[in-house]
């Protein structure tokens, strides 16, 4: 996943919340052409969430074509054989629903929230556009402009987001998480409708589709509908996912990013393993637990130590996503106030990480962290969107929705020594890449307003 998405999600949910039913409640079917269906019935309200997941994302783009998976996602709304551009969303809207889509490095998903009685109709519409997209150049020419505006808004004009983009690129050599999902502007300017068509042909194949439905539906009925729609598409070759092995870091790296900004932001990222059920449950759950202890709840250790006690930042947090492909870029950051310097934050941060490697967490801290992570699972069940999304992610990144429950078991089994080990093995300075957002002076910033807002650039120590 894109680092900045992680940052946002991390702020909201610490990214550790595990949604989901008991795997036993999930009803699954697979069709001859490779299309999968996963249904979780919930009859508490007359609504349903329909999500169509594709095993394609930013990681599958060829060099020079970054952003293509996301561009394609936009083109799915630009008309098919039966629907004019924009008509898809209008029809969903007219049935009292809402629709949207999202793209990450690992997946692309299209979703609709609708009254439960409309599920079959929506699945027909999804299958129709999936099979019969128009992909007209004049629509593409308009949409690529929209996407460039999206990039300007999200990244170019947001100094923090911009720094995180640079940081990801600096941290990795091979793994595709080094490229932004939205694409580099230089690539966006060169994409053509031919690229979009080739992408469609290669990646939008039945064997890559997982349909997830959560809500007030009947599994048998949904299965019939999917069989008659997605299930009828012709079998086509499923391209292999691009998932290279990232070489281990050989020493710390550092980048300084100077942009118009008000205050510095200090961030650290490093590659850590993602969850691979049955093979590294203990390790991945320990990283999640370590991250929860550092940044989750009111007693988050980073807030306690770095914000409250040492006063080296006005806010600080960390994030880990165990549900990725190949690796995760674990991150931590400190937002620095006018009197707070990157040097002091950095020293305090690494001192703290070293201490976490030497002193195991208290049993009661571990118990509270586990209770919170398990409670998050229950709270997430309150949202159809999150439930369906978690199923879709597990299935699409290759973990498998059937392993859903094993994650909480793994969390329950984490010991204090496991957590300690995370800081000895993974969260270490010599494996890290540091990114520092340095505010560029702009005419509107008066020294009176912020006397120390332009700290001296940190000299490159090692790179």
């Amino acid at each position: 996943m894109h680092l900045f998405q992680l940052l946002i999600a991390g702020l909201l949910a610490m990214f550790l919340s595990v949604s989901g039913a008991n795997a036993a409640d999930l009803k699954q079917a697979e069709f001859r052409n490779g299309v999968k269906l996963i249904v979780e019935e919930d009859h508490s309200a007359p609504v349903a969430m329909v999500q169509v997941w594709l095993k394609v994302g930013g990681r599958d783009e060829l060099p020079g074509k970054t952003g293509l998976a996301h561009v394609f996602e936009h083109m799915m709304f630009k008309g098919s054989k039966q629907l004019a551009p924009g008509e898809y969303s209008k029809q969903i809207s007219a049935m009292g629903g809402s629709d949207n889509a999202f793209t990450s490095h690992d997946y692309t998903a299209y979703f609709e929230t609708v009254p439960a009685s409309k599920v079959n109709k929506v699945l027909q519409m999804e299958a129709e556009r999936f099979a019969n997209l128009k992909l007209r150049d004049k629509d593409f020419q308009k949409e690529i402009k929209v996407i460039m505006e999206e990039r300007r808004m999200r990244t170019e004009d947001d100094p923090n987001s911009h720094m995180f983009e640079e940081l990801s690129a600096a941290a990795l050599r091979l793994h595709p998480y080094r490229n932004p999902v939205i694409g580099w502007m230089q690539d966006l300017k060169r994409l053509t409708i031919e690229d979009v068509r080739a992408f469609y042909k290669k990646h939008y194949v039945p064997g890559s589709v997982t349909v997830v439905v959560v809500g007030d539906v009947d599994f048998k009925e949904v299965k019939q509908t999917v069989k008659r729609t997605f299930g009828r598409m012709k079998v086509r070759a499923v391209p292999e996912r691009f998932n290279p092995t990232e070489p281990a870091p050989f020493g710390p790296k550092r980048i300084d990013v100077s942009l118009p900004a008000q205050l510095p932001l200090f961030a650290v990222t490093l590659p850590v393993p993602v969850w691979n059920p049955g093979s590294n449950d203990r390790e991945a759950a320990a990283i999640a637990m370590a991250t929860q202890l550092l940044a989750g709840g009111r007693s988050a250790k980073m807030t306690h130590e770095l914000v409250d006690n040492k006063r080296v930042a006005f806010s600080a947090a960390a994030g880990y996503d165990p549900f990725g492909m190949g690796l995760d870029l674990w991150y931590a950051y400190g937002a620095l106030g006018p009197e707070q310097t990157p040097e002091k934050f950095e020293t305090a941060f690494w001192k703290m990480m070293q201490k976490m490697g030497k002193v195991p967490p208290l049993e009661k801290e571990l118990a509270a962290a586990k209770r919170q992570m398990i409670a998050s699972e229950v709270f997430a069940r309150d949202s159809l969107y999150l439930r369906a999304k978690h199923i879709g992610i597990l299935e699409t990144v290759g973990i498998g929705a059937k392993h859903q429950d094993e994650w909480l078991t793994a969390i329950r089994n984490v010991t204090a020594a496991d957590v300690q080990n995370v800081f000895r093995e993974w969260i270490r300075f010599d494996r890290s890449t540091t990114g520092l957002l340095l505010p560029e002076q702009t005419p509107e910033q008066t020294p009176k307003q912020a006397p120390e807002q332009a700290p001296k650039p940190t000299p490159e120590k090692k790179s």
Binding site: K142, E149, P260, K364, A368
Partner: protein
């Protein structure tokens, strides 16, 4: 990367609170008026073993002194940070060990205290909830730290064009000869005003406004009214009194039109925000205005603004309109971001869309489609505890009838073509709007423009 940015998702969430749609099978709202005047509203939902609650009090940012904007927000932070019985660390440990999620914040009219908790931890949760409300700790060191962090955060916020625009919009719409109207500042406060706030200001607001009369507790989840009362009544029986200023004791701001404010920022895009006053929560034309806004730019991809500015011309990623219905008229806002040299083109398209609505170019069919979307989407807007407590708190706080959710569909349905055209005459005259621009080299560009 979804097609809607986090900002826009926030906007949509906001809209849930501004507007509601109901359907046919709405679970009833149960009500209990407590002796101290607090109203409790409950919707039972037994599917998930959890309970969510939100207490809303007439203690929002409009009660901040003009040079101390941010007081209510700081008070909300202080109340949940520690108590008289538990210092900060002990408090954090207590809440975390039971996975109690406690939060607080302020908008313009109301201050809210909210909690999400597992059913099994509800007794501890309600004790903690009432302790944070009734036993503030007023720890001086923690106040100093919270205030310092808020000031740094306010400076960081200056990096965001949307926040710069919102500050400027407030001043533009709500500044008059008699000073800044209470709705004129952001609830979070600003760099300049946060510095002036003292602990005594928080105590004063707490004493005068955080009172049970006029406050509402909305609850949704795996609980019944008797269960809730058994836990809650003893916990808050010492809470008494009325607020000094009641919710509806507020004057409307004067009408402002035709003004432009430009804020220079070194960005690649210009953010254009068109603003005017919108309807108040209880205005007679609330529903026609609401349906009108949905047609204009409240309905995402189906709306006219999205159609004209994004779909037809590719000028923006998003363009949205919304109004904030408060005790008195609040802002009505249209907002977009586009590459700086296209801003005037995009603004012109927005004005054309408004002009067309103003002139009454609305067909029966279009009205029907908008209404169908609104009424059809009711169920999904109420399908989580979080959404339900937001809606119920709003209904109770603004003293709307408890069958509001049941009759909401009828109210939307009953908006006629004539009604919506009248609303368009009231709100869509482009000359009655103002403009705030945030972006690079604005005045220079203005001069060179034809």
């Amino acid at each position: 990367m979804s097609r809607l940015s986090p900002t826009h998702i926030t906007l949509l969430i906001l809209c849930f609170f501004l507007v509601i749609s109901p359907a046919h099978a709405v679970p009833p709202i149960q009500e209990k008026q407590m002796e101290n005047g607090l109203r409790i509203l409950l919707m039972e939902a037994h599917a998930v073993p959890m309970v969510s609650m939100q207490l809303i009090m007439p203690a929002g940012s409009r009660f901040d002194a003009a040079n101390k904007a941010g007081t209510a927000t700081l008070l909300a932070s202080m109340l949940t940070d520690h108590t008289a019985k538990h210092h900060h660390e002990a408090w954090a440990t207590l809440l975390d060990s039971e996975a109690i999620r406690l939060g607080a914040g302020a908008d313009r009219d109301g201050m809210n205290l909210s909690m999400t908790v597992l059913k099994e931890a509800l007794p501890t949760g309600i004790k903690a909830f009432s302790e944070s409300l009734l036993n503030p700790g007023w720890d001086k060191k923690r106040f100093k730290l919270i205030k310092e962090n808020a000031i740094s955060s306010a400076q960081k916020d200056q990096e965001e064009p949307g926040i710069r625009a919102s500050e400027a919009s407030g001043k533009l719409l709500f500044q008059s000869k008699i000073g800044l109207h209470p709705y004129g500042h952001r609830p979070a406060g600003s760099l300049a005003t946060l510095k002036n706030i003292q602990l005594a200001d928080l105590k004063k607001l707490y004493q005068t406004q955080n009172r049970p009369q006029g406050s509402v507790l909305a609850v949704s989840g795996d609980i019944t009214m008797p269960e809730l009362l058994a836990l809650f009544e003893p916990a808050i029986k010492t809470w008494k009194g009325s607020p000094s200023i009641k919710l509806f004791e507020i004057n409307s701001a004067g009408h402002v039109q035709g003004k432009t404010v430009e804020i220079e920022m070194p960005t690649s895009q210009t953010l254009s925000q068109l603003i005017r006053l919108g309807p108040a929560r209880k205005d007679a034309d609330f529903f026609p205005a609401f349906v009108l806004n949905q047609m204009l730019g409240g309905g995402g991809f189906g709306s006219r603004l999205m159609e004209e500015v994004r779909e037809k011309r590719g000028l923006v990623y998003g363009v949205y309109s919304y109004f904030i219905p408060l005790a008195a008229p609040g802002p009505f806002i249209i907002t977009l971001q586009t590459r700086a040299n296209q801003a005037e083109d995009a603004e012109e398209v927005v004005r054309t869309v408004m002009q067309s609505l103003f002139e009454g170019n609305i067909t029966r069919k279009q009205l029907k489609e908008v209404k169908a979307n609104l009424t059809g989407s009711f169920a999904q807007r109420m399908d989580s505890n979080r959404e339900r407590i937001g809606l119920m708190a709003m209904i109770g706080f603004y003293r709307m009838p408890l069958d509001y959710l049941q009759v909401w569909t009828e109210k939307v349905e009953s908006v006629t073509l004539a009604d919506i055209k009248v609303a368009a005459t009231t709100y869509m005259n482009p000359e009655q709007w103002n403009l705030v621009r945030v972006g690079p080299q604005l005045s220079k560009k203005g001069k060179t423009a034809p």
